[in-house]
């Protein structure tokens, strides 16, 4: 090894770091690289924190994007004094971000979205949307065995006829293994990372600290309430027995003719930390798209996804708040499987009433009432207090979200202009910091964004109004029980049914 290797390595690391930064604003880019370097250099090189900055991983890329967004909004146009202040906040935030275990992925992906927009193509954006889920660290098999001993007093291979040591999917709180019961059924076994609840609690504490310097001003109290809401829903997700009960409720809402499959739960193999369900054969969205599905099939799945989500919403008043596309299984016989009901949120009566009123006002095209409801949902007393700009922008988002409700006939969720308008408005809301609102909107937004991202990538269409009328029982028609045409063999999928996102 030559003597100048460390120095050379340092220069290379610096170049790699600069390479990760967004291209715009050269001065800001260089300053950001310096800051990142300084923070990283303060720690011994063996910590995961500095490795994560220096090695140029995907994580580093997305965090840089996040920081670039921060910098662009807080630094680039600011006065010198403001810059120094922002830098101090930025340094603190950088250090905190590196310590977050569970929310880090989601926070950074949000940053990446904000930073790359509007440069990102809608397609890239749609890919990013569902990536907004949380992540637990992976578990090796030795850890899985210990969890099983704690939960069942038995090893996996004692409990099941066979058990795959490698997980086949990541879940938001852990991972999923394939196994076979002694009675022969193939099952999916979801196992929770031990102590994840404590990690969530400490991450949210960190997130509160991370957000403090964003100077949310009058909306800070609202942000605190929202973080408490996030904590409540995420902690509820750690109870797999509650999830099992909910999955059963959802399962009861569908019949075989619907073409929608909710896997059966095996309670005798489930505990608070381990959930065993029927294994659904099929592929995830990526794989489906790679197979270049016909428009017919795209429309069919769009229909099924719409039916599934609207039925859950209108019949049980529950939102699927996890936008992870891995929760949808595209089955070889043309059916749609829904798995993982961990991250869900039930609407309260008050929240539900507001939803109903907004829909009614929209369908009546009662603009005055719409405005009143938007003001109310944003937690203001009057339009004057809310301010024109905020009212207009929030209104734009809500109207975009509800656009399918107003469109007769087939609605094209793959339409680029439609998708971009929505993303545009939502990103603008984030940039302006117009985030004040009812805590439940975190989940409605996540629910709509996740589903819209999927149907956009599917380039699918469905008759949304028809589905809405049937599922909600509103609009003068009774809810029908047969929603999907009879199943046909996979080779020739059924005629394009109506159906969303």
């Amino acid at each position: 090894m030559s003597a100048d290797t460390p120095r050379k390595r340092g220069i290379e690391a610096r170049a790699a770091l600069l390479d990760l930064m967004p291209r715009q604003e050269e001065a800001a880019r260089r300053r950001l690289a310096e800051l990142v370097e300084n923070v990283a250099a303060k720690r011994p090189p063996t910590t995961s924190f500095s490795r994560f900055w220096i090695l140029g991983s995907l994580q580093a890329k997305v965090s840089c994007a996040y920081l670039a967004y921060w910098l662009r909004s807080r630094w680039a146009d600011a006065e010198e004094r403001e810059r120094l202040k922002s830098e101090t906040h930025l340094k603190a935030a950088l250090e905190l971000l590196g310590t977050m275990g569970y929310l880090r992925g989601a926070v950074m992906k949000l940053g990446q979205m904000l930073a790359t927009f509007p440069d990102a193509l809608p397609e890239e954006f749609a890919r990013l949307l569902p990536a907004l889920h949380f992540e637990a660290p992976p578990m090796h098999y030795a850890m899985v065995r210990e969890v099983f001993l704690d939960e069942f007093g038995k090893e996996p291979h004692e409990l099941f006829a066979s058990f795959e040591k490698q997980a086949f999917a990541a879940a938001s709180l852990g991972q999923v293994h394939r196994a076979r019961l002694h009675s022969g059924e193939l099952v999916a076994v979801k196992i929770q990372y031990p102590g994840i609840a404590r990690t969530i609690e400490s991450d949210l504490k960190n997130l509160r600290l991370l957000m403090q310097p964003m100077r949310l001003g009058e909306d800070w109290d609202n942000t605190v309430v929202k973080l408490a809401e996030v904590e409540r829903v995420l902690l509820a997700e750690t109870d797999y027995l509650a999830e099992a009960t909910f999955a059963q409720t959802v399962r009861d809402a569908f019949t075989p003719g619907d073409g929608i499959v909710i896997p059966r739960v095996y309670p005798e193999y489930s505990t608070r930390r381990v959930l065993t369900t029927e294994y659904l054969e099929g592929v995830h969205l990526e794989e489906l798209l790679e197979s270049r599905p016909s428009q017919e099939l795209r429309d069919r799945y769009t229909h099924l996804l719409t039916v599934a989500t609207t039925r859950m919403l209108y019949r049980t008043h529950w939102l699927l708040a996890d936008p992870n596309p891995g929760n949808y299984i595209f089955m070889p016989d043309g059916r749609l499987g829904l798995v993982d009901f961990g991250c869900t949120r039930e609407l309260t009566d008050e929240e539900w009433q507001l939803q109903v009123k907004v829909e009614d006002a929209l369908l009546r095209r009662d603009e005055k009432e719409m405005e009143r409801l938007i003001v109310k949902a944003s937690l203001y007393d009057s339009a004057g207090q809310m301010g024109r700009e905020r009212l207009e922008l929030i209104g734009r988002v809500i109207r975009w979200q509800l656009e399918p409700w107003l469109s007769e006939g087939m609605f094209d969720f793959g339409d680029e202009d439609f998708f971009r308008r929505g993303m545009d408005a939502m990103v603008e809301v984030m940039r302006k910091g117009f985030t004040r609102g009812m805590p439940v909107h975190i989940w409605t937004n996540r629910f709509i964004l996740g589903a819209r991202g999927i149907v956009y990538r599917l380039k699918g269409r469905c008759d949304f109004q028809e589905i809405y009328r049937r599922e909600s029982g509103r609009g003068g028609r009774e809810r029908s029980t047969t929603l999907c045409p009879p199943l046909t063999p996979p080779a020739e999928p059924s005629p394009p049914p109506e159906g969303e996102g």
Partner: protein, 205 residues
């Protein structure tokens, strides 16, 4: 008259059993050797022939549990484990055996395993350290690492292990699951440290 070896063993076992009951019920510090002798039905003098102190009694229980854990650990191996997994299984299996003693372990381990210089070193504590580190050395050897209990790697490992024990003895979470995450991180940190920057698993990103 000489008492038989069998009778000795029975007496020793009875003393340990009663001591464990009292430690669990009253706490280690609140239990006196006199209480134990009384409960076991032996004279205080006789008891000291078996165990010179209550600390020795507690650490004897600990060492027996740890030895059982290590024995069981070996039967659980299937040969395909990574270094991280093997260390995780070792600690997990040992702690499972220690679990019944957990209610009174805090002060016992603090005194017997303390790495700080002390006037009197508890020989059973030293045995616990040596035996555990020997097992770790064997595991490391199987994975191609040569180390001795006294070298830097051994010392760092022991520090992490003491941290794990300290967390685990006071862990209020169900089945001490918070400590399980700590064990996972501690082992990955150790493996990363002894094998350079490129190992350590997916946690380290």
């Amino acid at each position: 008259m000489r008492i038989s070896e069998q009778a000795k063993q029975l007496c020793r076992a009875r003393i340990l059993e009663k001591a464990a009951e009292l430690f669990a019920a009253r706490g280690f510090d609140q239990t006196t050797t006199r209480d134990i002798a009384l409960a076991a039905g032996v004279a205080a003098g006789t008891m000291f022939n078996y165990f010179p102190s209550k600390e020795t009694m507690a650490m004897t229980m600990v060492n027996e549990a740890l030895a059982q854990g290590r024995e069981e650990f070996l039967t659980r191996l299937d040969g395909g484990e990574s270094l991280e997994e093997e260390l995780f299984l070792l600690i997990g299996t040992e702690l499972r055996r220690l679990r019944p003693l957990r209610p009174f372990l805090g002060p016992v381990l603090e005194r017997s395993l303390s790495p700080f210089p002390r006037k009197s070193v508890c020989p059973e504590g030293e045995t616990a350290r040596q035996e555990h580190l020997e097992c770790v050395r064997q595991i490391l050897l199987r994975h191609g690492f040569v180390t001795t209990p006294e070298d830097v790697a051994g010392t760092i490992y022991w520090s992490l292990y003491l941290g794990i024990l300290a967390s685990w003895t006071g862990d209020q979470s169900d089945n001490q699951e918070s400590s399980r995450a700590l064990i996972d991180y501690a082992i990955r940190t150790f493996v990363q440290m002894i094998s350079g920057a490129h190992r350590g698993g997916d946690h380290v990103r």
